[in-house]
């Protein structure tokens, strides 16, 4: 039972991470900085509860806010680079964040001994959940309430003015500009909202694991973050969730019985998915009717491939 609760917690946190990348991918930008924003959220929230003694709610809020502000700051220089150059630039940022936390030593004395980030040894003792006697199931409920909340907000956002503008920018920047769309506002707002969601996910993550270290936030994490929405399909939010369940639940946990062969099959399955459904698992026409209101459907009937720039 504990195993399944733990797995569902991981799936919830990774869904949030995937949704943060979804926002930015919508504007046609591929960002590998999501792991960095996630790390910032994780350390910020952890420091607020464990070192400053805040309660969880405000800590998560501040973690999301700080990650969002830093994402906005990254969004502005990112306006000047596109495509592969943006991938390189955001990768560099994520590495900077990781190395800052690798070197960060800042501990405070508490009755239980020193607590705080301890460089390469990591940041342990983020014991808000155990200290307040939260059960695994309660943590799980909190995580999935947050996932549901974030998904609802993004769903409304996608149907609103800003969603249309994000998609338009993602389709063709020059045409979007000429139609009067402010590129800076569209791209930076996507970074800001994506950063906030990643920060929130990080905050939950650090409290759930109670110990974090720089090794949690490598480029692999950022790769997963963008893989979820791409594999799930950018056209619906549910695609991201299904991709997380597929990767974390099926490929990583479900295939454990294969032993060493698992990693091999993992890669092969991802390749197979991209071959069979190049625009993602939930791209048309396997779309759920829920997301297809009759009028002004956000989606058409794409039969063909790539999301071209």
């Amino acid at each position: 039972m504990d195993f399944y609760i733990g797995l569902l917690q991981v799936i919830g946190v990774h869904t949030l991470l995937g949704l943060s990348a979804w926002c930015i991918l919508h504007t046609g930008q591929v960002s590998l900085a999501q792991g960095g924003f996630f790390a910032i959220g994780a350390y910020t929230a952890g420091m607020l509860t464990a070192m400053a003694g805040w309660s969880l709610g405000p800590s998560l809020f501040i973690a999301a806010l700080i990650a969002s502000l830093i994402a906005i700051a990254i969004g502005f220089p990112a306006l000047r680079v596109k495509g592969l150059m943006l991938v390189v630039a955001t990768t560099a940022f994520a590495e900077i964040v990781r190395l800052v936390f690798f070197n960060l030593k800042w501990q405070v004395q508490t009755p239980n001994g020193p607590i705080g980030p301890d460089g390469g040894l990591g940041f342990g003792g983020i014991r808000y959940f155990p200290a307040n006697a939260w059960s695994g199931l309660e943590i799980l409920t909190l995580i999935w309430c947050l996932v549901a909340g974030v998904m609802s907000v993004l769903w409304l956002l996608d149907r609103s003015r800003i969603g249309t503008l994000w998609r338009a920018v993602g389709e063709d920047e020059v045409a979007a500009q000429s139609a009067g769309i402010n590129l800076t506002a569209a791209k930076v707002s996507a970074f800001g909202i994506g950063g906030a969601i990643a920060g929130l996910a990080g905050g939950i993550f650090s409290h759930n694991t109670t110990h974090i270290e720089h090794g949690n936030f490598t480029i692999l994490l950022a790769t997963f973050a963008i893989a979820y929405p791409i594999i799930g399909g950018l056209k619906s939010l549910l695609g991201t969730l299904i991709a997380v369940i597929f990767i974390q639940g099926f490929l990583i946990e479900g295939l454990r019985f294969l032993g060493d062969w698992r990693s091999l099959l993992f890669g092969a399955m991802i390749l197979a998915i991209m071959l069979i459904r190049p625009t993602g698992l939930l791209s048309a026409p396997l779309r759920l009717p829920l997301f297809n209101s009759k009028k002004n459907a956000p989606i058409g009937n794409a039969k063909t491939g790539a999301h071209h720039a």
Binding site: D172, A175, S178
Partner: protein
């Protein structure tokens, strides 16, 4: 309405546009023609703000718009289409128009339009322009899946729906058959009758000569003629630019002998 003063753009040593002046008067259809590489598209990109000029100014409604970004110019009232169609390919026909319309709605009204209302001004206008481009029956199709002529019509409607009084149409007839060109002719006139001012960049002489009130002719980045279509057609320099001339031969011979 729009005034171009001594506008020039060099790409390295190539003088794509080399100091041209003309103005667009309110309510007219101005043709901008010239042989390939004469600087027509560069001129449009300079007016729309995609390129910064090497020298010169663009003045719109008495305001120097040199410092404005493309989207600011669009919001000020200069909309355009592209020579190689640029639609939002993976968005539906309806959304292509909606994106250009909704950008005019700021703050709450934009959000409200999308969520709470069934027949707001923006939606009615979007419907009207859907009808204008004759794609009501394809409203939910992806723009990328439309036929070529339909894509051109949609792009024209997307420029028109922005509410901009000035439309820059960059070779809207490229790749069209004569039937489609007649159709385009009608639509351009319809837009003019709605009060739009139009700058038409075009190769297709029949369309230009038929629909334009005045024509500006470019060659090698310079303006070589301006006037009513029939006057321009008679102009010796214009004929030389399009057909080649004896004087060119004479020049070449002189050059060879020297």
């Amino acid at each position: 309405m729009l005034k171009v003063e001594n506008l020039a753009r060099y790409f390295g040593g190539i003088k794509a546009v080399d100091g041209i002046d003309f103005d667009i008067r309110r309510g007219e259809i101005l043709g901008l023609i010239g042989p390939n590489g004469s600087g027509k598209s560069t001129t449009v990109n300079l007016i729309a703000g995609l390129y910064a000029p090497t020298t010169g100014r663009v003045i719109f409604e008495g305001q120097d718009i040199q410092k404005l970004l493309p989207h600011e110019r669009a919001n000020l009232g200069i909309a355009r289409t592209f020579q190689n169609i640029r639609l939002f390919g993976q968005l539906s026909v309806w959304q292509n128009l909606w994106a250009a319309r909704v950008v005019r709605e700021t703050g709450w009204s934009g959000l409200k339009q999308r969520w709470f209302s069934t027949a707001t001004q923006g939606k009615l206008e979007t419907e009207a322009y859907l009808e204008f481009c004759g794609l009501e029956h394809k409203r939910d199709q992806l723009a990328a899946n439309l036929a070529f002529g339909e894509q051109r019509r949609l792009e024209l409607a997307r420029a028109a729906i922005s509410g901009a009084p000035l439309l820059l149409l960059d070779e809207p007839a490229a790749g069209m058959n004569s039937e489609e060109i007649d159709d385009l002719d009608q639509r351009i006139r319809k837009l003019r009758d709605q009060g739009k001012t139009i700058l038409l960049i075009e190769h297709h002489m029949e369309l230009v000569m038929g629909v334009c009130d005045r024509v500006v002719v470019l060659n090698f980045g310079r303006k070589i003629a301006e006037g009513k279509p029939e006057e321009v057609q008679q102009d010796a320099q214009v004929q030389a630019a399009y057909l080649g001339s004896d004087s060119d031969d004479a020049f070449m011979q002189a050059a060879l002998q020297a």
